[in-house]
């Protein structure tokens, strides 16, 4: 298996035979996925297909029951080494999970100061730069409750970006947003992708997947059923289940 070893060294994410169950429910039934540096991979599939669980395993918020999970060269299946991943990947949640007692700038600078140990001035300079990056330079002093959902999610993206992550994970980042606010978030994500950020995105935004993904992965029943470039998966899906799913989500 020398080939997988070399792959693993160059891949940003490499999952081999990942299984996960919650009680009686087997959510992942042996998943293999590799993500190359700079690649944008979009996971699609019906709810319950295991895509969110898979993403959470990639940033060690859930533990795989078996299989290997390599992320940014850290073996997450090794419990002692898994915490090395924290602070080196970014995660954007469906519910934003901003710190409500801190301003936008405070949200963005907290980990810079406590984890990266930057001085206040340095942290704030970097914080303002990433807020500008997501188009919120003028909202640095606003609290999350004073921002729209789309603005909150952009602050959450800035908070992750501030740590200069090797990979960005997005767990349904636009699902909690009003439809007219989705565009400002996917716009920021698209510009990150154009800058060469490695991204793994779980989303129901098929247009984003079609425009921005290098590869679309269709999950069904806890396995990867089909994957390929978006034009292939959307244009001529090989599996009947994929066709059904796309028919359902694209018709509405």
């Amino acid at each position: 298996m020398t080939t997988t070893t070399t792959d693993r060294k160059t891949a940003s994410v490499s999952l081999v035979g990942v299984h996960k169950r919650f009680g009686a429910l087997e959510v992942l039934k042996g998943v293999d996925i590799d993500v190359a540096p700079g690649e944008v991979v979009v996971l699609i599939g019906a709810s319950g297909s295991g895509k969110s669980t898979l993403l959470r395993i990639m940033c060690d918020l859930e533990r795989a029951d078996s299989g290997e999970v390599w992320v940014n060269d850290v073996p997450l299946h090794d419990r002692r080494r898994a915490p090395e991943i924290f602070g080196h990947v970014g995660m954007v949640f469906q519910q934003f999970n901003l710190f409500p007692h801190k301003t936008a700038l405070g949200n963005v600078t907290l980990a810079l100061r406590k984890v990266r140990k930057l001085e206040r001035g340095e942290a704030e300079e970097r914080g303002r730069a990433v807020l500008a990056r997501v188009g919120l330079a003028d909202k640095a002093d606003a609290y999350p409750a004073q921002l729209s959902g789309g603005q909150q999610q952009r602050v959450a993206i800035a908070r992750a970006l501030a740590m200069d992550p090797a990979i960005m994970f997005f767990d349904e980042p636009t699902s909690a947003l009003d439809p007219e606010l989705v565009g400002e978030v996917t716009g920021v994500m698209r510009s990150l992708a154009e800058d060469g950020m490695t991204m793994v995105v779980v989303t129901h935004e098929m247009r984003f997947a079609r425009d921005t993904a290098d590869r679309v992965v269709f999950m069904d029943g806890g396995v990867v059923l089909e994957q390929g470039p978006p034009e292939q998966v959307f244009g001529s899906p090989a599996e009947a289940r994929t066709q059904q799913f796309l028919h359902r989500v694209l018709d509405t």
């Binding site: 519910q95 999970n97 710190f99 980990a111």
Partner: protein, 216 residues
């Protein structure tokens, strides 16, 4: 009633008041710290420690403070030969007893903070203690503060129990005056008024915080 009893013994009452305030402030500090620690352990889901914390809560909420104080001052000294000061015993008993209630107040606040706050902090690289202090605790303020100050009220009144182990505080000084000049009516009324003077502002504060919490 003869009010001259009060003016004649003003210094005695004031020294009692001071001793009550001193014990109250000390016990508020140590009781809050103990409550915070126990709540942190209890919400940590570390198996053995969380069980120990639970056992502590059950014991100290399930027995009277009076007995706890008597046991710590007389019983423990009898068992170990180790003498503890009256103030030390009163403070320890109040800390353990009130700490149990305060721990539950903090626990309710901590558990009301969404799990996503822990997750976001964790991915950013913050440690458990950094997250607890910097992210979780500040968010519990609105939930924790009103019942916490309410608990301080009951703590202040509970300091009077220290009279049974001979701590010279407000009640004891009131009794001292009665022993000397009689007139328990005036003296006990004076003691009650002095407790009320300490407690009433806190009581107003609780009500104001509760109203604000409802509006928020």
């Amino acid at each position: 009633m003869d009010w001259s009893v009060l003016t004649d013994n003003r210094d005695v009452y004031l020294s009692g008041l001071w001793a009550t305030v001193l014990l109250s402030l000390a016990a508020i500090a140590t009781g809050t710290l103990a409550g915070l620690l126990v709540a942190a352990v209890r919400t940590s889901r570390i198996p053995v420690l969380a069980q120990l914390a639970r056992g502590y809560l059950e014991v100290f909420r399930g027995t009277p403070l009076l007995i706890q104080m008597l046991f710590i001052y007389f019983g423990a000294a009898y068992l170990s030969g180790f003498a503890i000061s009256v103030f030390g015993a009163a403070l320890l008993a109040l800390t353990l007893y009130q700490g149990a209630y305060i721990a539950e107040i903090f626990r309710a606040g901590i558990e009301a903070v969404p799990r996503g706050q822990w997750e976001a902090s964790r991915v950013l690289g913050l440690g458990r203690i950094q997250t607890f202090v910097g992210v979780i605790l500040p968010q519990t303020r609105a939930i924790v503060l009103p019942p916490l100050v309410g608990q301080y009220l009951s703590l202040i009144k509970d300091t009077s129990i220290a009279v049974v182990i001979g701590y010279v505080e407000l009640v004891r000084q009131g009794q001292a005056v009665i022993d000397r000049v009689g007139d328990p009516a005036t003296s006990y009324l004076a003691v009650a008024v002095l407790y009320f003077v300490i407690c009433y502002p806190l009581s107003v504060l609780v009500r104001r915080m509760e109203r604000k919490a409802v509006l928020a």
